[in-house]
Symmetry: C2
Subunit: 364 residues, 2 copies
């Protein structure tokens, strides 16, 4: 995932976070989701948009609506603890929206880590949970390190040497607390080279996709964006075998094993699983010394001589941090197509559409 830098487009509607939150909870509660659960899921989504990760916030609402209408997402389901012993637990999301189960799981993992140094919590029977990084950040805000993984049931990734899709974009997120609580290290990455959404964007723009992103129907590298769009096949991070594609495939398989296999989430039935590992730095170097050492490491990274003086070396989480500041002031930009899709979702849910231009243009 990558923070977008398209906020200045005049065609965009800029919406304040509070209004967007209200719009989402309006839809979710009409589906029958309890108010508290709707607030939780909406908070994750809006904060994801605030941090610039447009692909995983409100942009997912039409997809959730589709899951709901097909009976694959139960808005009333509340997560259930299947096992809970010492540092580990397993939750069943019972086909609810992923965000609610994932927040419950991460809260439990954080409590365990604060009490016993480590918390490892899996979630089975879930749905899309938004941005993997949001949950890792939750732990960093409590001065903990965290890993957050989810499988994604839609196959896009073609294993090295293969012709066919077999795994989702299966992301990995990692967060670590720094001296600035608002600015954790935050890595959030698909294990494919890019998210699938970038292929149709290139096709609509009539430009080729860079080598290493996509494959054709035969599993061969493809840069023609029309062919790539039809093939719906993504290369693993790294691209070809020679360039390290077996590593991206291996990471995607690791995520699948932790999130789906280990939690018992049956991917063949469209289920999703999540997996969280939370670690208290107080058990190792010590919380304060760790933050100091980390700040020194990050300063060293940011201080590396850049190729282009206008583009300094970044630390994972820097683009998201910048987006939060900018969008907190300017609002969250929504492309016209998305606004219309939200209007349709509202109509189908019988929820009021709140994003009319006049109301939405206001400051957050």
């Amino acid at each position: 995932m990558q923070a977008m830098d398209t906020d200045q487009d005049a065609a965009m509607l800029h919406v304040g976070a509070a209004l967007l939150h209200r719009q989402i909870t309006n839809v979710f509660t009409r589906w029958g989701m309890p108010q508290e659960a709707a607030d939780t899921a909406a908070r994750v989504m809006v904060e994801t948009d605030l941090s610039g990760v447009d692909s995983h916030g409100i942009g997912m609402l039409p997809y959730y609506q589709q899951l709901f209408s097909e009976g694959r997402l139960d808005p009333r389901a509340m997560p259930q603890v299947l096992r809970d012993e010492g540092p580990t637990a397993l939750l069943d999301a019972r086909q609810g929206i992923g965000h609610v189960a994932a927040v419950a799981a991460m809260r439990l993992a954080i409590d365990k880590a604060l009490q016993g140094g480590v918390g490892i919590v899996g979630v089975t029977g879930s749905n899309h949970y938004g941005a993997a990084g949001w949950y890792a950040r939750m732990a960093a805000e409590r001065q903990l390190l965290a890993l957050s993984f989810t499988n994604s049931p839609t196959p896009f990734l073609v294993p090295v040497f293969g012709r066919d899709r077999a795994l989702g974009t299966n992301p990995i997120a990692f967060a670590a607390p720094t001296a600035d609580p608002q600015r954790p290290v935050l890595l959030d990455m698909a294990t494919t080279a890019v998210a699938y959404g970038k292929i149709p964007i290139a096709r609509r723009a009539g430009v080729p996709v860079p080598p290493g992103w996509a494959l054709d129907q035969e599993g061969q590298p493809e840069t023609d964006s029309t062919v790539a769009h039809e093939a719906r096949r993504l290369a693993p991070l790294g691209g070809t075998r020679k360039q390290g594609g077996h590593k991206g495939y291996g990471l995607a398989l690791m995520v699948e094993i932790l999130c789906a296999t280990l939690t018992g989430a049956r991917v063949s039935e469209g289920h999703t699983g999540h997996f969280f590992i939370v670690i208290d730095p107080a058990r190792f170097l010590g919380a304060e010394a760790f933050r100091q050492e980390l700040d020194e490491l990050l300063s060293r990274m940011r201080g590396i001589a850049p190729i282009d003086p206008a583009q300094p070396v970044l630390v994972p989480g820097d683009p998201e941090h910048d987006a939060i500041l900018r969008r907190g002031r300017e609002g969250i930009p929504l492309v016209p197509v998305l606004v219309e899709e939200i209007r349709r979702v509202c109509a189908e849910a019988g929820a009021p559409f709140l994003l009319d231009t006049a109301g939405a243009g206001a400051a957050p």
Copy 2:
């Protein structure tokens, strides 16, 4: 890391595992390493060679000799437990060889996982520990899942947008037990696109390096192997920013934070740290059900239609498994240059050189 497929080269000396083990322990004990520690380190190295990962077995002996002669590796040092509480512990390798401290740390993590579901153990003040995957496999042999990380103090990786090296090749290994105890899932990967050793190999062969491997002095992609060899700069896994290089950089930074920052291993002084996470599947889906589900997942991967019928889709660990079978029969192949380097190491240590052709050609 990648299992080599060069075993048939007639110029190679094929050495049995037992003899290679004796050769290594002979050197280590002459340095003053206690017999048991020497046996441990030699076992890790020889089994790494058996599994085809030539870059991290006996091939590292000349480097260890250099560290020893410079006073950076203390062969007498025994690891010390600095902290040990519940699921976590921190060990100090006290500048000993990495293998000995890493085996102690992984044993402790395994014990913790078998008792309490999870073991997370860090190591500070260490040296090179060989192949990250060897330790992850240790846990898989006990029916546990494991992650194994190490930082490497020699900077090769250039962060995206930068000109200069700032991180090592910082590997990530993951293992999971399958129904066949000899054949775990085993991912073991540098977070650069390739290990540095592949650059001088290309230079000596007079061939360019593939795009995505190396950078020039200015941090720009470089395929001329002579220029790349002089620049000593590796691209992160993914290559350029557009192709996902920020992900490889992010993973390398994560490894640095877990292994060096969190354990307090000061990289500026050439120290190395390791980090191990071990998880008992019995705490989640259950040990037996997990293995069954995993075997189903792996069958699905291996069953994907291949591009080339002669090259089926693999699962991480398959090349290593094949190498173990082959090299168990045929011995471990050593290139002539390495044999001469080992001869020199033996001479400097005052240890007998055991790899004369006659003795070495025998079956393992």
